[in-house]
């Protein structure tokens, strides 16, 4: 490569003062001007720390010991400060909601110029220019509450590009976006890369989603070390993904199931470059035909039923219109739709947090209109997305016991029931631990345990796997599956297509307060209309089915799901 490196790590390591071990070890890495790089790795691999080192949050906000050298634009980064660095590296953080500083789009984009004391006329002109680049120029006076997740992210991007930085750093840009918006985000990043010679660095663990567009190199981190610096074709052909616990693209998994040897000659790095010859086609078709369809044994007992439910927070502004569905005992299903489609409102109505305007809710064929929040919680449990919003006791035992204590259950019975739940949740060894010592996934389990202890027959979870890498996702979901197998009906509010595909045979889809579909997940994910209405995207399995000449894409996706369940069950 004849271009000069813009970022150079030499024997770089970093240790937070609060940690006993270094988070990054012996990092040697060169990134060239104009490159597009993905930094992948599971949670705790050090990829976010690496990002913090680049943008200066380390050592500006997070203190620790740095060894070795990191040069950005030939200047040693430790000799710069965060303000100087922010002129060459612009960072788009993962939580677009939380980092929206201004009260309107224009103001937020201008934030950096305000801090540079730029005069008002020049500032306005530049804001207009940059807003146009990300297609937000019609929204300049909108407040963050009026914007979608994607629009917020584009505002952040504009706020960073206003400085005309050389390097754009995206820290988990897909974490809080629905699949369709995530896809657009990757396309926007791609377009910016094409149109300018900016260096792009994307920190993500969702490989398949990032590989929707070309990247030059993928740097894989694991346990604080770089274990691969590789192009995408070689990466998916290797065993690195399996070893580090990064999810491989679904079409790759399907091809492997069909007994196809994945190698670089197939150009398997992106589905758009994947070459499929006749032999491969045959193999996939044979595999497809060989799969035994799984019969779903269904119970006949209706556990929940919503009939003609309408609801509005503000007068004359209905957020749910005439919703009706039935759920049978022991089901595991997903409730999907864009932000604001009414998913959470349904959960709130079921739990009694809000009161339905019209319609009836039945639990085991009893009308539950007159049941209080507290009474409903013994039947229908609700787990919030953010465990920090639920944990109120310092010790795990007390946290789990709280619901029983507040119901004046006797001390002995509490002990027995808490122990039982902690056993199920795999938290028994931590019974006497403080909550603060737990990891995010463990905290999540504690919140689930604290709801399960009341012995509800239905469990509703809001985005249980948001922001989790593949390993933690699998851990949480397999755990929920186990709970489901004990007879608890599980309803999941989610954006995650993998989750729908792998764990919930049935999906209820909402748009603008209307129930538009209530069917198999495999049908939802292969119906263009529903995909569009719910801001989902096509799964790559759908494309694979088309590429291999399988006519019934839905059936192919369903077979994949069944096959995978059988593999996992073994």
């Amino acid at each position: 490569m004849d271009k000069k490196p813009i970022i150079v790590f030499r024997d770089f390591s970093f240790q937070y003062f609060s940690q006993s071990q270094p988070t990054l070890h012996d990092i040697n890495l060169e990134i060239y001007q104009g490159e597009k790089i993905m930094i992948a790795g599971p949670s705790g691999s050090g990829k976010s720390t690496l990002g913090h080192c680049l943008n200066g949050l380390i050592p500006f906000s997070y203190k620790g010991e740095i060894k070795g050298s990191l040069k950005i634009n030939d200047i040693e980064s430790s000799e710069q400060n965060i303000f100087k660095l922010s002129k060459s590296i612009g960072t788009v953080l993962q939580d677009a909601d939380g980092q929206f500083i201004g009260l309107s789009v224009g103001e937020d984009i201008a934030f950096s110029m305000e801090n540079d004391c730029v005069a008002l006329p020049e500032m306005k002109k530049r804001v207009d220019e940059v807003a146009k680049m990300v297609d937000m120029d019609r929204w300049l006076s909108s407040s963050p509450y009026e914007l979608s997740g994607g629009q917020k992210q584009r505002t952040e991007l504009a706020g960073v590009m206003i400085d005309d930085v050389d390097i754009l750093l995206f820290d988990e840009p897909l974490a809080n976006l629905d699949p369709a918006t995530g896809k657009q985000a990757i396309e926007i990043i791609h377009d910016i890369h094409e149109e300018s010679d900016k260096t792009i660095i994307i920190i993500e663990h969702r490989l398949e989603d990032v590989l929707h567009r070309r990247v030059d190199r993928i740097i894989v981190l694991d346990e604080g070390r770089i274990i691969a610096d590789i192009d995408s074709h070689s990466l998916v052909s290797s065993d690195i993904l399996i070893k580090t616990g990064i999810r491989e693209p679904l079409y790759i998994t399907a091809l492997k199931y069909a007994g196809i040897d994945i190698n670089k000659r197939l150009k398997p790095g992106y589905i758009s470059t994947l070459t499929i010859n006749e032999k491969t086609k045959k193999k996939v078709q044979t595999w497809y035909k060989s799969i035994k369809k799984q019969e779903h044994a269904k119970s006949n007992t209706l556990i929940l039923e919503m009939k003609g439910i309408s609801f509005s927070y503000v007068k004359d502004k209905e957020v749910l219109h005439d919703i009706g569905f039935e759920i049978t005992e022991g089901e595991m299903l997903s409730l999907i739709g864009r932000n604001g489609a009414g998913k959470s409102t349904i959960a709130k109505l079921l739990c009694g947090f809000e009161k339905e305007g019209k319609g009836k809710i039945y639990y085991l064929s009893d009308d539950i209109a007159d049941k209080s929040i507290k009474e409903r919680a013994e039947r229908i449990g609700f787990v919030m997305q953010n465990p920090n919003q639920m944990l109120s006791q310092p010790m795990i035992y007390d946290e789990v016991a709280l619901g029983l204590k507040l119901r004046q259950v006797s001390e002995e019975e509490i002990k027995i029931r808490v122990k039982k739940v902690l056993d199920i949740c795999g938290l028994a060894p931590f019974t006497n631990w403080p909550v603060s010592a737990l990891s995010y996934g463990q905290k999540k389990r504690v919140t689930i345990a604290s709801i399960l202890v009341l012995d509800p027959k239905v469990l509703i979870l809001d985005e249980p796997t948001a922001g989790q890498d593949y390993r933690h996702y699998t851990e949480i979901m397999e755990f929920l599956l186990k709970i489901n197998k004990t007879g608890v009906t599980v309803i999941l509010i989610t954006h995650d297509m993998h989750l729908m595909l792998e764990y919930t045979p049935r999906s209820i889809v909402l748009t603008d307060g209307n129930l538009i579909s209530d069917t198999l997940a495999s049908v939802v994910l292969t119906s263009p209309d529903i995909i569009d209405a719910a801001n989902l995207k096509e799964t790559s399995l759908y494309q694979l089915a088309q590429m291999t000449g399988i006519e019934d894409e839905t059936s192919f996706v369903q077979c994949f799901i069944d096959y995978e369940r059988q593999v996992k069950a073994k």
Binding site: I82, L93, C117, V118, M384, L391, G403
Partner: protein, 277 residues
């Protein structure tokens, strides 16, 4: 969802169009005028004026109902305390003593004290609508830029604005957390004992603090990364140029202040208006 107590409303009116700086200065000037003068005639004029402005700024009664109730209670308590601690204060000021109503001991209700208390009540009652107008028609960012314009350090001004900006979010978090805790079995009725209520509050506030700290960390990082605090000064995207309307509003406030001072100096020869001589 309920709108926050101090959330600025988007609307178009003469008052909304004024720059934040204008509104802040007008508010301070008018408050100064009312605080300076104890002439009930002047005060009533300002009060009428402030209610007219309240009307112009399209603020509805329901928006300020809650605030008004608190203010009236506060003022009533204030008036009573003034009487009980200094029943003869009116005589001290106005130099005469007309007993209006005989109570026990030296607690006679004199016309002078009553007049003083009514004047004081009116003073507050005329300033408070102005404050409400200012808060309800100025959004947090403009507020910050105006505070900065009159000499408050921009970091302090920004911190204040951010607090207002996040108020609705934290309110929403509070609602979610409290609902989740009710589902756990927390009794929200007021029948509970004090100690139980204290524990109840704690089990909502602890998660609220934790999730708010998360928010703060994110926003701090975002602000650092975009150069907040780099220089001693900063400019403001939302600062508006002063228009004719602004000058007009400023002039009116100055006229009112000057008139108040002239009346005190040349007509009353004191800050008090004395109808008893």
């Amino acid at each position: 969802m309920r709108i926050g107590l101090f959330t600025a409303q988007k609307a178009d009116s003469f008052v909304h169009r004024l720059s934040g700086i204008t509104k802040l200065i007008c508010f301070l000037v008018l408050t100064g005028a009312v605080m300076f003068s104890y002439d009930i005639r002047v005060i009533i004029c300002v009060m009428v004026f402030s209610f007219i402005v309240l009307k112009i700024s399209k603020i509805t009664f329901s928006q300020i109902k809650l605030m008004l109730i608190y203010v009236v209670i506060f003022l009533a308590v204030n008036a009573m305390l003034t009487f009980f601690f200094a029943p003869g204060y009116g005589t001290e000021i106005y130099g005469t003593r007309h007993v209006f109503l005989k109570l026990f001991g030296n607690y006679d209700v004199t016309s002078e004290t009553l007049f003083f208390i009514v004047t004081k009540f009116m003073k507050y009652a005329s300033v408070i609508p102005l404050g409400m107008i200012f808060l309800l028609t100025t959004d947090p960012s403009e507020l910050a830029s105006s505070l900065n314009a009159i000499g408050v350090h921009y970091k302090a001004a920004f911190a204040f604005a951010l607090t207002l900006r996040y108020f609705p979010d934290i309110q929403r978090d509070y609602k979610d957390i409290s609902q989740a805790q009710q589902a756990r079995g927390l009794e929200m009725s007021n029948k509970a004992k004090f100690w139980d209520r204290f524990k109840r509050a704690l089990s909502i506030i602890l998660p609220l603090i934790l999730s708010t700290l998360d928010r703060i960390e994110t926003i701090t990082n975002a602000m650092d990364l975009r150069g907040f605090g780099k220089f001693k000064k900063r400019t403001w995207y939302r600062r508006r140029k002063l228009t004719k309307e602004d000058i007009f509003a400023l002039l009116i406030s100055l006229v009112i202040l000057t008139a108040t001072i002239i009346i005190s100096v040349f007509i009353n020869h004191s800050r008090f208006y004395n109808p008893f001589i």
